[in-house]
């Protein structure tokens, strides 16, 4: 076996933040900020970059681009369907349009327009889906887009990237600007750990190993990658389990080689994502594993259900996508790897359901108790 395979712990060559596990020192920055900054840099480098926005300039962070290049910014109003096709028309005429909205609306609402006028025509349109995943929090299920990875990855000609933090979103935005062809970039609303640095390698189609391990491999996409690192660190400290953690930002093209290597070397895979496991990153990994190197696999993500209103962290916990649930999934996949019997429904699913039931009652009742007197009559 090669030397790298036996390594444990954080991969130094990834140049992750120095205060990786220091809650107080590690900076929290929304990934959407990376998109906003990346757009301005891309706009400086290429005069053909355009930004089209559907009445969400500030929250998708396209305001900075608008200020820097007012003539290359197009306000569409609330019309996501023509947003996609107008961008396609511009792309056919030589521009490189980025279309910005919430993922629930674009690609949620304009999927067919993207399919025909962007993907099928192979137009050079970049779709930026902001506010994806559960962490939109209080806005509720209507705005918590969890199906986007699944609906986009079935589309031929589409490239999909799910960056893990602010820096990586910036890099992904610049990569999208240089890339020729349809590109879906998925990012989030809330602040999340800024744990990669400018020096952290980023290449489309390449899954980087953020943590070495030999017992199991966790493939994670998006800000939850940080949760995977936390889970891996705890598993190492508390149970001596060494989990390899891989940044699977490129959903499509997917780094098949990294997956096969991980399957062969660690014999167990766990996927982590803030999206529907059906058809999401879990879909890519399951399909690839079945066709190449079948090994036990577990899926952490949204389990065929919708989200709900609540504080972003509460929603993530209640839907079972945080570090403790990743650890449960790892325990289960290791049991399966060892040939031990496991429960029909995974514990990371049942435990989340129990927590959700408890939280629902508790948070709701607490709020009622605090209701002003005038509402208690």
């Amino acid at each position: 076996m090669a030397k790298a395979n036996q390594q444990k712990g954080i991969n130094k060559e990834m140049f992750l933040a120095r205060d990786l596990f220091d809650d107080k020192k590690l900076k929290q920055v929304p990934t959407r900020n990376g998109y906003g900054e990346g757009l301005v840099d891309a706009g400086i480098a290429n005069k053909n970059i355009m930004v089209l926005c559907a009445d969400l300039t500030e929250s998708t962070r396209t305001q900075a681009f608008k200020d820097a290049f007012p003539e290359r910014f197009v306000q569409m109003g609330v019309s996501e369907q023509s947003l996609a096709s107008i961008a396609a028309g511009m792309a056919i005429s030589g521009k490189v349009p980025f279309i910005s909205s919430y993922a629930a609306f674009s690609p949620g609402r304009n999927w067919e327009q993207i399919r025909t006028t962007v993907a099928l025509q192979n137009s050079n349109v970049k779709i930026a889906g902001a506010h994806a995943g559960l962490s939109v929090g209080p806005d509720g299920a209507t705005h918590q887009m969890t199906e986007d990875i699944a609906i986009m990855r079935t589309m031929p000609n589409m490239t999909i990237c799910v960056p893990c933090d602010y820096q990586e979103t910036k890099k992904a935005t610049l990569t999208a600007a240089k890339f020729k062809g349809p590109f879906y970039l998925r990012f989030t609303r809330e602040k999340s750990p800024a744990f990669t640095t400018e020096a952290t390698p980023f290449k489309l189609g390449r899954a980087e190993t953020f943590r070495f391990g030999t017992d199991v491999t966790i493939f994670a996409a998006g800000p939850l990658l940080y949760e995977a690192l936390v889970a891996a660190e705890n598993l190492s400290k508390e149970h001596g389990i060494e989990a390899r953690v891989i940044n699977a930002h490129s959903i499509k093209p997917f780094d098949v080689k990294a997956l096969i290597t991980a399957a062969k070397e660690t014999g167990a895979i766990v996927t982590v994502e803030e999206a529907q496991v059906n058809g999401g990153l879990a879909g890519v990994v399951a399909e690839t594993l079945t066709l190449t190197t079948p090994v036990p696999m577990e899926r952490v993500g949204v389990q065929d259900r919708f989200g709900q209103s609540g504080d972003p962290r509460e929603v993530q916990e209640a839907l079972g996508v945080t570090a403790p649930f990743i650890a449960m999934a790892v325990a289960r996949v290791l049991d399966r790897k060892a040939g031990k019997p496991v429960s029909a429904i995974p514990m990371h699913v049942t435990a989340a359901f129990e927590l959700e039931t408890k939280m629902k009652k508790q948070i709701f009742e607490d709020a009622i108790k605090r209701a002003p007197k005038k509402w208690k009559r």
Binding site: D55, M76, F105, D311, F364, W375
Partner: protein
């Protein structure tokens, strides 16, 4: 041909006596105050639109609509479809006042486990009719209900509240084409014409005017009213009910943030709540006197 024989069997006349009007106005006032406290507690949510719509919701829930808060699925109820889901807080307040759920639930808006989801979800709260948030699909659903109502010769009416910003959605106009073709006169669209959306004024972002002619060319009967005058709104609805050849669009000119002087006309208040403490108190003080325009009669 539309079925013109349907009579409103369970409907009371809409004529508004001065005494009733006074009561409704006080109700709208109290609802605005509750709205502010609700948003302050939720720490997120939309302020301007809901404040501007308080009078229309008061008129609908407490005077115009035939409905039963204790039986939200009552077959004969009028249907109120909220297309612009983000303004739902004022609908929640109206529903609490009407008795759909205890008032103390207002303290749970947008919290984990609350039936008062950030955007309205029918699976969470009976009486909402539809789930909305992503804009533009309410009018189509209203049209579907109205079509069913005429088809099955039902006496109920459909009211659909839409924002002006969402008129940029193509789907709205697809619904209008259908409503016009099928003469869905049992359907009344109420446009919250407050001229603002998230990024600015509607006429800057994507001009809608001349809006009246747009709707008329789609086969609508278009009426106008002052959206912050309960009497004007009720009378306009009465006129809408009198028309049986076409669906009616009521363009209700509302003032965003109505009643809170520092929010009025300001699009930056579209999507945020007042802060607790000073800002909340200032908003309350402004509401109780309507910026000095009226004398407060309570508290």
């Amino acid at each position: 041909m539309p079925n013109l024989t349907i009579g409103p069997k369970v409907r009371k006349p809409l004529h508004l006596h001065d005494r009733e009007l006074k009561k409704l106005e006080l109700r709208a006032q109290a609802m605005r105050e509750d709205l502010i406290d609700m948003l302050v507690e939720a720490k997120s949510g939309h302020s301007a639109g809901p404040l501007g719509m308080a009078d229309i919701y008061t008129a609908l829930y407490f005077h115009i609509m035939t409905h039963d808060p204790k039986n939200p699925d009552w077959e004969l109820r009028d249907r109120l479809i909220l297309s612009c889901g983000h303004t739902v807080p004022i609908r929640y307040v109206a529903m609490a006042h009407a008795g759909y759920f205890p008032k103390k639930y207002m303290n749970t808006l947008r919290k984990f486990g609350s039936p008062l989801q950030g955007h309205p979800e029918k699976e969470w709260l009976p009486g909402l009719e539809t789930t909305s948030g992503p804009l533009g699909s309410g009018s189509s659903q209203a049209v579907g209900m109205a079509y069913t109502g005429l088809l099955d010769r039902k006496p109920w009416r459909v009211y659909c509240i839409m924002s002006d910003g969402e008129l940029a959605c193509g789907q709205t106009w697809e619904a209008m084409l259908f409503a016009g073709r099928n003469n869905l006169y049992n359907c009344t669209f109420i446009i919250d014409r407050n001229n603002i959306q998230i990024d600015g004024t509607t006429e800057e972002i994507m001009p809608l005017e001349p809006l009246t002619q747009k709707f008329e060319s789609f086969g609508m009967n278009v009426l106008h009213c002052a959206g912050n005058s309960i009497r004007d709104f009720v009378e306009t609805v009465e006129r809408a009910h009198a028309v049986t050849e076409k669906p009616t669009v009521i363009i209700a000119d509302t003032i965003p943030g109505y009643g809170v002087d520092f929010m009025e006309y300001d699009f930056s208040w579209h999507g945020k709540p007042p802060a607790p403490g000073d800002e909340r108190n200032k908003a309350m003080a402004s509401l109780r006197t309507l910026g000095g325009r009226i004398q407060s009669e309570h508290e």
